[in-house]
Amino acid sequence: MTTTTIAGHEVEVNEEGFLTKPEEWTEDLAPELAQLIGLQLGEEHWKLIRFLREDYAAQGETATLRRVSTQTGTPVKTLFTLFPGKPAKKMAYVSGLPKPKGCV
């Protein structure tokens, strides 16, 4: 675990760069985290990020891709467009959450 500075906030991250304390995440971190992985956030991204944050607070674990899709009514295809390549991990990263643990 190391402490780093993102968007002017000191946050604790793991060796991969994921925030280790979800409570240290604030909305102004998201655009910066997104930019670090080459993404520009739009309203559609924000809708998903907010869902991920709320769902994590309620469930205690990061939603899987399928859960994000079914719970927000977003087609999986759209998730792959908004967060290309590895959507579940990218969404978690930008939202300051751990990688999802579920298989599906």
Binding site: T4, E16, I37, R66, V76, P84, Y93, G102, V104
Partner: protein, 179 residues
Amino acid sequence: MTATDTAPVVVPSFDDDAGTGRKLAIICSKGNLDMAYPGLILANAAVGEGVETHMFFTFWGFDIITKATMADLKFSFVGNTAMHPPGHSGMGIHHMLGALPGATAAATKMMKKQIADLDVPDVPEFLELLSGSGVHMWACRMSADMNHVTEEDLYEGVEGIISASDFIELTDGAQLLFI
């Protein structure tokens, strides 16, 4: 502590694999419920990791993508000496009990419930998930001919009925799983 005291930002290497052209080929040759899921789950995991994923459904695996059968795959524990009730109490169930009338229906019902309890979709919905995620699905030409099945009979996400050699050709360089 000031900003200059903290470590430089580490960024996850999300796109490192993108340029490597990693591919996975999964051959699904069995049509039992318990043999369908490993392929579906691994395909979903691979595509979610940015891996180009191709599935080839052959022989009994055809049932996974045939509209008439895909929602009704079954689990029988005949011949499965590892069969036991959910959990690991140490108690087993003799596999030949699976040959009794109704045993397959009961075991199938139980397995489907366990899968649903984990919020894992049933087979038709799983195919939708894979298709939406960009998994390529192919049906085996010989199996189609043996079963007198055409593309009309298959799940819409299946891209085509192709020969084994065509599949080998289009998965050039892929890692391969045979299930």
